[in-house]
């Protein structure tokens, strides 16, 4: 093994592998890669939070990725694979510098609907993939909140999902086969391009949700579903949050599996109304979607859900108005952004730490969890919101703080830590869909216990030099940045 090369030498070596036009080393090009969705805001207000990579490379094909990894392994240079940078847990932060692999150019999409599958490069966007599939009558359903921008590679790396997961499941349920480049540059194919297989260990599943810590995914084969041509959306607004939960439980208890079953609290409703909607006032709401192939079945299912909601005192909108239904969905996708409308003034720097808590709970524990979290918010003086995918036990909590104030940052951090630990104590998981990254690494051991040691053993086996996305998922220690204290110490 030789030492890490100087930047100019690194640039020259990388250019030899992928061409000069696919290598970036100027500060202006590196800076946008020093953060992801999670860290950008903090970096904006606490400028010392700058984790510059040494280079950014935009490979075009697997063989180039292989050469880069062989080289990086030899010189022990960190490699951070990256999609659209929409991650919410700091998965993409180059905490030790190194080479960011921006996989945007590996964006091939090859629909094979006759086999009910699609083959895609990691840089293909979810939206583009679904445009191609929908033209052929199919779709890839997980629908994360970042659906318009995120990449398929990013979705596989974080096992992403969203509002469609209650009926259709998360990304993992769709991965049939992966091509992966290992740390030493070896190219392996995991799984086969077939609907099912009972052959050997399912190693592809090890890489789903591995956040770039075990290898670089260079090709993805996904199962696809027939696109449901009939869709109906309704919003039910309740006089109490409990009423919304009770209605949700009743819907699920009746044996209905809606296409989506989303919960919004009072502040979310307020934010939506401040964004131009005229929704009824209430303490909680459910956004319901039903889909399928047959109109009668879809409308029948929706009617039953609406009855359940009205039985709990809800006022419903959108049942007869498909255009409003579509607008409600668009609004739901932008709920995080709408929350900024609740802030006192746009000039006042405030961070909305939205969705930074995305715990998953047993359905029976959700109401208790939300009640206790709201009590915690009040006790700690935190302005925050609860929303999420109530159909699959996934709760998001967003809270705001003034980044210039160390006390507020500390208060927000402590609150979020308590919210995560509360979920674990109720038998939940610390992340249902966003992944671990940097931000949740400190709590991973509390959830997994000795199983985390097994994960670390696998990491050492597959990445003995520890070059792949270091600092994430508590696999090789926890960087101080993940503990947050350092943020204001260094200000």
């Amino acid at each position: 093994m030789s030492s890490r090369p100087e930047r100019r030498e690194l640039e020259r070596e990388l250019a030899g592998m992928v061409g000069r036009e696919n290598v970036l080393t100027e500060e202006a090009d590196l800076l946008p890669y020093s953060a992801d969705h999670f860290l950008r805001g903090l970096q904006h207000y606490l400028p010392k939070f700058k984790f510059l990579p040494d280079a950014v490379v935009t490979p075009l094909e697997t063989s180039q990725v292989s050469r880069i990894l062989r080289f990086a392994s030899l010189h022990r240079i960190p490699v951070i694979p990256r999609g659209a940078g929409t991650s919410l847990a700091g998965q993409l932060i180059p905490v030790e510098g190194g080479i960011v692999l921006d996989l945007k150019k590996m964006n091939r999409i090859e629909p094979r609907v006759e086999d009910r599958m699609v083959v895609a490069g990691p840089g293909a966007t979810y939206a583009e993939l679904n445009r191609e599939l929908e033209r052929r009558g199919y779709f890839f359903p997980p629908e994360p909140g970042s659906a318009m921008a995120c990449t398929v590679g990013g979705m596989v790396s974080t096992n992403a999902s969203g509002s469609g997961a209650v009926k259709y499941g998360a990304t993992r349920n769709y991965v049939l086969s992966l091509e992966v480049v290992l740390a030493g540059g070896e190219v392996v194919r995991l799984g086969r391009k077939v609907a099912k297989s009972a052959s050997g260990y399912s190693l592809k599943d090890l890489f789903v949700g591995s956040e770039g810590t075990l290898g670089v995914i260079t090709e993805i084969t996904l199962r696809v579903e027939p696109y449901p041509p009939i869709r109906r959306t309704t919003m039910a607004v309740f006089p109490s949050l409990e009423g919304a939960f009770e209605a949700a439980m009743e819907i699920l208890g009746r044996g209905i599996t809606p296409a989506s079953l989303e919960l919004l609290d009072e502040l979310c409703l307020l934010a939506l109304n401040m964004s131009g909607f005229s929704l009824p006032e209430g303490k909680g709401a459910l956004l319901l979607r039903s889909d399928g192939r047959y109109r009668e079945a879809v409308e029948g299912e929706m009617e039953e859900m609406v009855r359940a909601c009205r039985g709990k005192g809800a006022e419903t909108v959108g049942v007869e108005d498909e255009a409003l239904g579509r607008r409600l969905w668009e609004a739901r996708e932008k709920i995080s952004a709408s929350l900024t409308k609740l802030l006192p003034s746009p000039e006042t720097p405030r961070l909305v730490f939205q969705a930074s808590v995305d715990v998953g709970l047993p359905l029976s524990k959700m109401l208790e969890y939300v009640r206790r979290v709201k009590a915690l918010m009040e006790e700690r003086g935190i302005m925050g919101v609860c929303f999420g995918h109530v159909g699959d036990g996934n709760v998001h909590i967003g809270s705001t703080f003034v980044p210039e104030s160390p006390e507020q940052v500390e208060r927000a951090r402590r609150f979020q830590e308590e919210a995560i630990r509360l979920a674990l104590s109720l038998g939940g998981t610390l992340t249902a869909e966003h992944g671990v990254g940097l931000w949740k690494a400190p709590y991973l051991e509390e959830e997994h216990g000795y199983a985390l040691e097994l994960m670390r053993s696998l990491k050492r086996l597959l990445d003995p030099q520890g070059i792949l996305n270091p600092g994430k998922m508590a696999l090789d220690g926890i960087p101080r940045v993940a503990l947050m204290e350092r943020w204001w110490e260094e200000k």
């Binding site: 090009d29 946008p32 860290l39 805001g41 318009m148 405030r350």
Partner: protein, 379 residues
């Protein structure tokens, strides 16, 4: 843009609930180069660093800002209204003030100051498009402002505009001394160029309108339309006359149109960014096309506020001629996939860009301006 406004927009984007990357969904320069520093979110991050002072201005930073087409697709999808394209425009202005204006734009800006057009042409030949023998009155209720692109690069189109207005029986005239509207300067960060300001140009053009006694100004260039209708008031120069894009005038006066000739044809309409996304004019050209006998109007999948740019805006065609053709090619392929035989637009700049690209790549699609299309079917 005032500093506070700039800061507010950047703060809105950078709050951790956003910086969401939705603006990556339809960005021509991201499609071309595939890197974050040439995507709206990356450019916003660079602007944030510039504003904080922890990134020095440089030619590289300037290049990243000038490699944007300013189509505004990012503004349309931004969930917090941060308006990346406006921030990029403001960054161009500040980079120019610090001496980092790419020379190509500076040369053209200087020419606007001296000869009142960015095409490096003499002012004296501005009216060379005028059809011989055309006599226009000294005063009229309507003034046609041809703009630089029609006057110097799409002369035939300018001639057809006056022909169409004449056939419609409208009483109109031209300015005695028309100057550039200033759009090129505003889009390339040159609110001031060699001592000339856009405010000054606006005042000159308005005085010329006043001399004609006109109540309305009609333009066929969407860049000019945005300048007159939106930028001038923002600069504190409020036109005291009505300002219309030609499609609005034609729509209002469609009872005067006699475009009834010609066989059956399938057409699609390309929304110019300046007319559609920036100014909200979407339906008038569609109403006109749909009302023509034998014409079937079909939409491209990306239309109205989601329309894909032709690749020529924001100084991009001048700065990146080859890359800009790639953007246009994508639009033309979309148009062809609709099965349309003709792509109609309402902008001399889009017309030039799309027509030249269709020819260069042999795409077999006819590109025309709405004015040309209406005249072809007159009778």
């Amino acid at each position: 843009m005032r500093l506070e406004e700039l800061r507010t927009k950047i703060n809105a984007c950078m709050s951790s609930s956003t910086a969401c990357g939705l603006c990556r969904t339809q960005c021509p320069s991201l499609e071309l180069w595939g890197v974050e520093s040439r995507a709206p979110r990356g450019r916003m991050a660079l602007c944030a660093h510039l504003l904080r002072g922890d990134l020095p201005p440089s030619n590289t930073v300037a290049e990243r800002m000038f490699s944007c087409v300013l189509c505004g697709n990012c503004d349309a999808v931004c969930p917090v209204g941060a308006g990346p394209s406006r921030v990029i425009e403001a960054a161009r202005e500040r980079l120019r003030e610090r001496g980092f204006l790419p020379p190509k734009y500076g040369e053209r800006g200087g020419h606007v100051a001296r000869e009142h057009n960015p095409y490096l042409e003499p002012h004296a030949s501005r009216l060379s498009w005028l059809p011989p023998g055309l006599h226009l009155p000294g005063k009229a209720p309507l003034v046609y402002f041809a703009g630089c692109t029609s006057s110097y690069r799409e002369k035939e189109l300018a001639g057809k505009v006056v022909e169409l207005l004449g056939r419609m029986g409208l009483e109109f005239t031209l300015l005695g001394d028309e100057w550039c509207c200033g759009s090129f300067l505003l889009r390339t960060g040159q609110g001031e160029a060699d001592g000339a300001t856009v405010e000054g140009m606006a005042r000159h053009n308005l005085e010329e309108v006043g001399r004609r006694g006109a109540r309305e100004v009609v333009v066929n260039c969407p860049g000019c339309y945005r300048a007159w209708k939106s930028d001038y008031p923002e600069l504190g120069v409020e036109p005291e006359v009505g300002v219309l894009h030609l499609v609005q005038l034609l729509d209002r006066e469609r009872g005067r149109l006699r475009a009834e000739r010609g066989g059956e044809v399938r057409v699609t309409y390309h929304d110019p960014c300046h007319l559609g996304r920036h100014m909200g004019v979407y339906e008038e050209p569609r109403r006109l096309l749909s009302s023509l006998p034998g014409v079937e109007l079909v939409e491209m999948p990306r239309n109205r506020e989601n329309s894909w740019c032709c690749g020529s805006g924001g100084g991009f065609r001048a700065g990146y001629p080859d890359a800009s053709k790639q953007v246009a090619k994508r639009r033309l392929e979309e148009a062809r996939e609709t099965g349309a035989q003709v792509l109609v637009t309402a902008c001399p700049f889009c017309l030039r860009q799309l027509r030249e690209t269709a020819e260069a790549f042999g795409l077999g699609l006819r590109v025309v301006d709405l004015v040309e299309f209406l005249l072809e079917r007159w009778g």
